[in-house]
């Protein structure tokens, strides 16, 4: 485990932001930290990044309880992120890298490598305020990863990014992950969760309401829905034989009873001399799981 959250509680005054949350982030995984606005994600991230401390419970990074050297192993890119506008790009990165524990020489080398990688060697003496928003986002990404963190925490990393930068950063994240860096990925955008995450935890109202690996959660939430397309008409008695969610002449969406399996449906169709052109299981999207789970766990999102 790169990160282990154990029964963490955090409250601000009377408001309980995080209420007995536990989960583990496996080493080398891409881990989705999900939840509606105000669920307690930011509070959790702030505790992981040692910005605040938990009221009770414990957080372990790479087997070690969080301590003052932990920030050097973590790279955090907040959702709302800024830079000192009056500083030069190179000096700014140097400053942030040194604050993360790099020596001047190490930082110099790392900056050089990243500038070469992004092909922006001539930016070193540019002022931050003279950069476009997309350029600043590149710098912010470099600042997040420059000290080669073991754990990368990205809070809505793609908001405000143009498609080119999105692809660029996505590729970088993938490469970093492949090189062994664990990534916590906090987002509202469920298609990104399905695309990128191995594991997720869903937080609502300060509580952990769902967790596990993406595939098994999907299986857990599947409703035995199958979609069939045929070349020719459906058998006449299909409506009486199966529970049909919706159908037309050549297509049908069928919910199988829990004791039957997909091959039963397929066998039935074959027995009725129907030519099947398409047969697929409809898995729930994460969006649906997310909304269902949030609604089940009580009040809807506050937004």
């Amino acid at each position: 485990m790169i990160l282990s959250i154990q029964d963490v509680v955090k409250s601000y005054g009377n408001y309980q932001a995080v209420n007995h949350v536990s989960f583990d982030v496996p080493k080398g995984s891409v881990f989705g930290l999900l939840g509606p606005n105000g669920a307690g994600k930011t509070s959790l991230i702030r505790m992981i990044t040692t910005i605040t401390g938990p009221d009770s419970g414990a957080i372990y990074l790479d087997g070690e309880k969080l301590n003052e050297r932990s920030p050097e192993k973590i790279g955090y890119m907040p959702e709302e992120r800024g830079l000192y506008k009056k500083m030069k790009v190179g000096e700014h990165l140097m400053y942030l890298a040194q604050l993360k524990g790099l020596t001047r020489q190490q930082a110099q080398q790392a900056i050089k490598n990243w500038f070469e990688k992004f092909d922006i060697e001539d930016w070193y003496n540019k002022k931050v305020e003279d950069l476009s928003k997309g350029m600043q986002q590149k710098i912010q990404f470099i600042a997040t990863v420059i000290h080669q963190p073991r754990l990368l925490i990205l809070d809505e990393p793609f908001t405000g990014l143009d498609p080119i930068n999105t692809t660029l950063i996505k590729d970088e994240i993938r490469q970093l992950n492949e090189s062994g860096i664990s990534i916590i990925f906090s987002t509202h955008r469920m298609e990104q969760v399905e695309e990128m995450c191995d594991y997720i935890v869903l937080i609502n109202r300060g509580r952990n309401v769902l967790q596990g690996d993406v595939q098994s959660i999907k299986n857990q939430y599947k409703q035995n829905l199958f979609r069939v397309e045929t070349d020719g008409e459906m058998p006449a008695d299909i409506l009486s034989r199966f529970q049909t969610v919706d159908h037309s002449k050549r297509t049908a969406t069928i919910q199988l009873a829990s004791d039957s399996e997909s091959n039963d449906l397929l066998r039935y169709l074959l027995d009725h001399q129907v030519r099947v052109t398409r047969f697929e299981e409809i898995l729930p999207t994460f969006n649906e799981i997310f909304i269902r789970r949030v609604e089940e766990t009580g009040e809807k999102t506050e937004k």
Binding site: T50, I51, P71, M87, L96, L99, K100
Partner: protein, 441 residues
């Protein structure tokens, strides 16, 4: 370098290399230079050129009046007023001065008349009045046959020379005045620096919060380090600026005489002492200057500089940490934050007012003693009192209190800052802020 060191370094360097800082630091002494040149220039300035004035002395009281830079006196004897007026019209002379007979020696006031179509500048009319008054005085002395020498012995200049009873200090008549000057300057510099740099810290904290760099910073450094680094960095900038000003002002003051050759003593005397009133003896004046210098040298400059620095640092830390706390609690809206800024500004302004209004009248009054102990006031009030030799235990106690308070306020501000800096989209009042003090880390 430690993280705090890195933060201090950045805060210091970004400010010191700013154009506005360099310009402000260089321009202030340059402004002083211009100001001094203007003052010196004004003392030498003559309104217009030399006037030529015909003197129509109807009673024959006056002897020849010597010319000066402002006015050349020509005799109008043997001519009538109308003839002289014609000469004015023909621009041979600038005006006619008619002195009617005095009438009685008992008369203390006498009106003379000036005929011209050009208005007489106030400075010139003053000079003429002084000259004529002097001549009339001479006329009276001669007419009454008074012995001029014995008359002069009547004038006695009196000055109080305060002598301390318990102290060994030999106070001179300058002690109070010099104390007032030194104290006033120190109080003003304190007030100015605390206000200026305190608010600079506040603005900088607000900027970091609103442009969201804090979110990034917080994941690397503790909020307290960031706040403290900013306060120390900005304070170092303040000390740098004061030091530059002291050095540059010294240089400028020495340069002024090179430019203008110093104020013209004759002109100064003429302006201050029109006519032939008794002049102070130049030797005596030099003696006064020496005593002034001796008095300045007698001040305990080492002690003053030492306590000034401690009070400056104490006052600066107290107020800038409060300003930092307020800045962290504020949102993007500066106007909304005014209600939070006011409680911090009031004690500074109050301290300055106490110094200006109560301190000048009596630097050792009960109010002043209290104000020079109370840590929110003492950084401004005590340096003022320092110049009046307050009891040493009062200075010591005040220093101790200010240092303890500085630590306390920095700690207090840190508690507020760590919550405020990460809180967005919430209107904050003092009650809310006081709750933050008790949040757990």
């Amino acid at each position: 370098m430690s993280k705090l060191g890195l933060i201090i370094r950045r805060e210091y360097l970004t400010r010191v290399t700013k154009k506005s800082f360099i310009i402000g630091t260089l321009l202030a002494p340059l402004g002083l230079l211009v100001y001094m040149l203007v003052i010196v220039g004004l003392t030498k300035y003559e309104s217009g050129g030399q006037l030529t004035v015909a003197l129509l002395d109807e009673a024959g009281m006056l002897k020849q009046i010597p010319d000066d830079k402002a006015v050349r006196y020509v005799s109008g004897a043997g001519k009538t007023l109308d003839q002289l007026k014609e000469e004015v019209k023909e621009k041979k002379i600038d005006g006619v001065l008619r002195i009617p007979p005095l009438g009685s020696f008992q008369k203390k006031e006498h009106t003379i008349f000036y005929y011209s179509d050009d208005r007489l500048a106030p400075e010139k009319s003053g000079a003429i009045e002084g000259k004529i008054a002097g001549k009339i005085r001479d006329f009276k002395i001669d007419s009454l046959r008074i012995d001029r020498k014995s008359l002069e012995t009547l004038d006695t200049e009196v000055s109080i020379d305060p002598e301390s009873i318990s102290g060994t200090e030999d106070d001179s008549k300058y002690t109070a005045g010099i104390g007032l000057a030194i104290g006033g300057v120190m109080a003003f510099i304190m007030f100015f620096m605390v206000m200026l740099y305190g608010q600079m810290v506040m603005k900088s904290v607000m900027e970091e919060k609103t442009n969201r760099i804090v979110e990034v910073m917080m994941s690397s450094v503790r909020p307290f380090d960031l706040m403290l680094g900013k306060i120390i960095g900005a304070g170092a900038v303040g000390l740098t600026q004061v030091l530059c000003w002291v050095v540059l002002s010294g240089a400028v003051t020495m340069l002024v005489p090179l430019f203008v050759g110093g104020p013209d003593p004759a002109a100064m005397q003429g302006a201050m002492n029109p006519g032939n009133m008794p002049m102070p003896d130049p030797d005596q004046m030099q003696g006064e200057g020496m005593r002034l210098m001796a008095e300045l040298a007698k001040q305990n400059w080492g002690m003053i500089a030492f306590s000034f620095i401690i009070f400056f640092l104490g006052g600066y830390f107290i107020y800038s940490s409060l300003f930092a706390a307020i800045g962290s609690a504020m949102g993007d809206d500066l106007g909304e934050g005014q209600s939070l800024v006011l409680p911090v500004m009031i004690p500074i302004i109050l301290a300055f007012y106490i110094t200006v209004f109560a301190g000048v009248r009596n630097p050792n009054s009960g109010l002043m003693v209290f104000a020079s102990m109370f840590p929110l006031f003492s950084p401004i009030v005590m340096p003022f009192r320092m110049a009046f030799n307050p009891p040493w235990w009062q200075v010591g106690l005040s220093l101790l209190l200010v240092v303890i308070s500085a630590f306390f306020f920095v700690w207090l501000a840190g508690r507020i800052y760590r919550v405020g800096i990460l809180l967005y989209g919430k209107k904050v009042n003092l009650k809310e802020i006081s709750k933050w003090l008790f949040y757990k880390g």
